[in-house]
């Protein structure tokens, strides 16, 4: 295990300068994610129009892994069809929990930088939090937890 695999430069960058870190005033979907183990908390705002994610942003606090994961999520999904988000949720879940044979790291692009967490079982939930929150938002649920 090498720390560089966990704290990949993309992750360090997104932790220092999280993208889309803001509140959206009139989201069509919003959900809160909470990791009771760490106290990581985030709120994800989504604007979906005609099946397209027009805008997505988040607020909250957490470790570098959870912040970078949320930041990368928003960057990736803006402008994409909502249906693609669901597919990505499944792929990310496989990647982060180490059931990664199905995950196409080339297709995942920058998101693949999060793959290092699979070697750190206590940190997997940090990376999956924003994805669970997205999943909850898309299904009209108010709260997601990693438990």
């Amino acid at each position: 295990m090498d720390l560089k695999d966990l704290y990949h430069e993309i992750i360090v960058d997104h932790n220092r300068r999280p993208r889309n870190f803001r509140r959206i005033e009139n989201p069509t979907r919003v959900s809160e994610g909470y990791n009771p183990l760490c106290g990581d908390k985030l709120k994800l705002y989504v604007v979906i129009e005609d099946g397209i994610i027009q805008d997505v942003a988040f607020e909250g606090s957490g470790c570098a892994i959870s912040m970078a994961s949320a930041s990368l999520l928003t960057e990736r999904l803006k402008g994409k069809p909502a249906a693609e988000a669901e597919d990505l949720f499944g792929q990310m879940h496989d990647l982060l929990t180490g059931k990664g044979e199905g995950a196409d790291t080339e297709k995942l692009g920058k998101l693949a930088a999060l793959e290092g967490v699979k070697e750190y079982p206590s940190r997997v939930k940090c990376a999956t939090l924003s994805w669970h929150t997205l999943h909850a938002a898309l299904h009209g649920e108010d709260i997601a937890t990693t438990e």
Binding site: L3, K41, A64
Partner: protein, 416 residues
């Protein structure tokens, strides 16, 4: 004790020899020597404790208080002499004032359910403090919910000390009970217990002390303190997990109804009624953790052989060294700056989340705790989500603290 005398006591410890008593310390994590700085979560076990438990299972294992065979007699004698040992460790007036339980949490729940629940009525108050561990909050929430009583908390100030004005105001309302930690697990604050107990008693309020963090660090004398209940765990004081004790004044225990029913806690059972056993057996339903009690007694012996004052003096030195080393790094804020502290340093590093610190430090062999330390109300009060916490025991070295500092610098370089 003056500082010069303290220094002398700390110097008298042969730390290298003491470290050899703890087999677990001599290992590498990854390829780095283990630096175990998570002693407030649980302490490591000396060979004397491990061997006492092993010896019991190898030679004496039998159920207690019933059998008439030799092993049963040996096991019973060992268990009851462990009780006597713990009574001595706390300077209890009577051996039967010591109830063996799973730990501090179970001890507090026992008092909440058996002593407080029958007494509490709507409008009554139970007083705790904002410094408490969840184990000294939630049992009181449960019993307040059951009885309609109200839970209040003494405030803490920015240094992580109890606000004594807030305490005076709250105790003057004459709550039915004041439950307070001796030493804060999250910040290390040592509370002015004698003063608090004296003031509570002046208002006729009984006091329960959560001593989980105190027994490994301070001499505890329940008679001198004058408290009414004292709860602690074995595993924080170099003993096994799953064993701890409640000390309570005999007359309080005698008044309390049993909490759990079963074998051992009765004198006579018929279908329509039973007669309870005497204290403390009334509160020890079922086969107890016999090996654990024996291990706990061995831990008390071990602490006494090293000397609790020498341990405290040594840990004070380590605390000063850690405080200096962290302040020297810069960009680190120490949370909890009470003048009287156990060897606990809670801190936040600018730009680095405590959980990232935990992972990066682990890659250097350094074990610390990161999170809310089971004290979420305290974290909220201090405006923090989490802290990193290094907690030292007498067997830690200044070199290990320097390794912590180097590892913190690495974390800052990676993420800061």
């Amino acid at each position: 004790m003056n500082t010069a005398a303290n220094k002398l006591k700390a110097l008298s410890l042969d730390v290298a020899a003491l470290r050899r008593d703890f087999p677990i310390l001599h290992q590498t994590v990854g390829d780095k020597p283990l630096c175990y700085l998570d002693n407030a979560a649980t302490s490591q076990k000396p060979r004397a404790v491990i061997e006492a438990v092993e010896r019991y299972y190898r030679q004496d294992n039998a159920n207690i208080h019933r059998g008439v065979h030799t092993l049963a007699e040996r096991a019973t004698a060992a268990y009851e002499s462990a009780r006597e040992r713990i009574a001595g460790f706390l300077n209890a007036a009577h051996n039967e004032e010591v109830v063996f339980l799973r730990g501090t949490t179970e001890a507090i729940n026992l008092v909440a359910q058996s002593w407080a629940r029958p007494r509490l009525q709507p409008g009554d108050e139970v007083l705790i403090t904002e410094l408490e561990h969840h184990s000294n909050i939630v049992p009181w929430q449960l019993v307040c919910e059951q009885t309609g009583a109200t839970l209040r908390a003494v405030e803490v100030n920015e240094a992580g000390e109890l606000d004594l004005d807030s305490f005076e105001a709250a105790i003057a309302r004459r709550p039915r009970l004041f439950a307070v930690g001796h030493v804060s697990n999250a910040l290390g604050t040592i509370n002015p217990l004698s003063h608090l107990i004296q003031r509570a008693h002046a208002h006729g309020v009984p006091v329960l002390v959560d001593g989980a963090q105190a027994t490994p660090h301070l001499a505890v004398d329940v008679q001198a303190l004058g408290c009414d209940f004292y709860a602690f765990s074995g595993h924080k004081m170099y003993g096994p997990t799953g064993i701890g004790a409640l000390w309570a004044r005999r007359e309080l225990l005698e008044e309390m109804p049993p909490w759990q029913g079963g074998g051992e806690m009765i004198k006579m059972v018929s279908i329509d009624r039973s007669i309870w056993n005497d204290v403390p057996h009334k509160f020890e339903a079922g086969t107890p953790n016999i090996a654990g009690a024996i291990g706990l007694a061995a831990a008390a012996d071990y602490i006494e052989s090293v000397g609790i004052e020498a341990i405290a003096a040594r840990e004070d030195e380590l605390l000063s060294h850690a405080t200096e080393a962290l302040n020297d790094l810069g960009g680190i804020r120490i949370i909890g700056t009470s003048e009287k502290k156990a060897a606990v340093v809670s801190f936040v590093v600018e730009g680095v989340h405590p959980h990232d610190l935990g992972t990066i430090l682990d890659s250097e062999g350094v074990a610390i705790r990161a999170g809310h330390h089971c004290a979420m109300p305290l974290m909220e009060k201090l405006g923090l989500v989490a802290t990193a916490r290094a907690s030292m025991a007498f067997y830690n070295t200044k070199e290990e603290i320097d390794t912590l500092a180097t590892a913190l610098q690495k974390a800052k370089n990676i993420l800061g």
